[in-house]
């Protein structure tokens, strides 16, 4: 029932029934729905009791139908309510460090491009051995890294980003800054939600870093 209420609540976008549903409670919503769906079997029945039991019985059916038959709608509603509950605690934050083993270093796209390009050049030499073949994932990874490559010299970029580390910015967050052609501090705050708590502390150093990076960036 609670779910139904949710459905009625999120429907307004979709049209007709939506106009009625916000005021009505879950039950009414269901009966309205089942009327729409199964009018012929429903309406002629008389007493309240039978109507209630029937409406309960039917209530299950359309909902399951909604999920399987009208798949899209059912799922969308579900996901909508999910995202609402997920959003409640706060914006989606990147937790790279917590989810990966200790012996891991984040790579900027330009660093990855250098490494993968090096491997590809080596493979040209090794390619006489037909047993060694680069997988599709390699090609895709290389294409991605090259396409997103913004800087020619990853070491210089690292040096520029270093001061941010003193302000508690993690490696993953630094890579996010280096991987995109970010133009303003507000853009950084929008893309990296974990900075929100230290906005005031980071604003000035970030401005400096972005200024430096903009000078180094490859022309588009």
């Amino acid at each position: 029932m609670a779910e139904k209420g949710g459905k009625g609540f999120s429907l307004p976008k979709n049209g007709k029934s939506a106009l009625k549903s916000p005021a009505s409670k879950g039950k009414d919503d269901i009966s309205a729905k089942s009327k729409r769906g199964r009018k012929v079997q429903f309406d002629p029945e008389g007493s309240l009791d039978t109507n209630l039991t029937k409406s309960n019985g039917k209530a299950d059916q359309p909902s399951s139908k909604g999920v399987s038959g009208k798949g899209g709608k059912g799922e969308k509603v579900g996901s909508g309510s999910k995202s609402q509950t997920a959003k409640a605690p706060g914006p989606l934050e990147l937790r790279v460090e917590q989810e990966l083993p200790d012996n891991t270093t984040c790579l900027m796209d330009c660093e990855a491009a250098d490494i993968l390009q090096g491997i590809q050049e080596q493979m040209v030499v090794l390619s006489e051995d037909p047993a060694i073949k680069l997988p599709i994932a390699f090609d895709r990874g290389l294409t991605y890294a090259q396409r997103n490559r913004l800087y020619d010299n990853p070491e210089t970029v690292k040096q520029i980003l270093k001061p941010l580390k003193e302000h508690g910015v993690s490696d993953g967050e630094l890579c996010m800054i280096a991987n995109f052609a970010v133009e303003s501090v507000d853009e950084v705050f929008a893309l990296v939600p974990s900075f929100k708590t230290k906005k005031s502390k980071l604003r000035v150093p970030l401005e400096n870093v972005l200024g430096e990076l903009a000078k180094l960036r490859r022309p588009a």
Partner: protein, 177 residues
């Protein structure tokens, strides 16, 4: 995002490969077995960059195979929830669009596309704003945020959104045409 990571794997080698080039055999088998695979924890193993150590081999009972613990460094690509990626659109339909960022596939549902963009069918299906200034079609480059991931034996599939600040189209192939 790309990562450099040290992983370990027990490699089994048949005795016929024992000899001076045992290590090379081990490495080439490792590359064949591991490169291109993916897991939920590490993401896609894009390439092996080096071997840290090859441990002492252990003969397996009943077979002639020997197991060697091999520690290796590799470049992996793993998408995270909350991560921003710049992806290339591969297919557009009324349900949303599919995009590719490296080896990862991303689906952006039409619910996660800004409300002012509408689906236009035709030869080149696309999502366009009412004034026609922004268009998402095949080959467009979009900046999106990952909100969910699913890991398969052979691929990682993500759900993304462009319904947020500073997300959306960054380059449109149709703009020049």
């Amino acid at each position: 995002m790309f990562f450099h990571i040290v992983l370990e794997r027990n490699m089994q080698l048949h005795p016929r490969h024992f000899g001076r080039d045992l290590r090379e055999k081990l490495v080439s088998k490792l590359m064949k077995d591991v490169e291109g695979t993916c897991s939920g924890r590490h993401g896609f193993i894009v390439a092996i960059t080096g071997i840290e150590s090859v441990g002492k081999g252990l003969i397996r009972d009943g077979t002639g195979f020997v197991t060697f613990p091999v520690k290796y460094q590799c470049v992996v690509f793993r998408p995270f929830k909350g991560e921003i990626l710049e992806a290339v659109v591969t297919m557009v339909n009324k349900m949303g669009f599919f995009a590719e960022a490296g080896p990862v596939q991303i689906f952006v549902s039409n619910h996660l596309i800004p409300d002012d963009m509408e689906f236009q069918s035709g030869d080149v299906p696309n999502y366009t704003t009412s004034d026609g200034s922004v268009k998402i079609q095949k080959e467009s480059e979009v900046r999106l945020k990952i909100i969910g991931t699913r890991v398969d034996a052979t691929e990682i599939f993500c759900i993304g959104t462009i319904k947020d600040d500073f997300l959306g189209v960054i380059s449109d192939p149709g703009a020049n045409a």
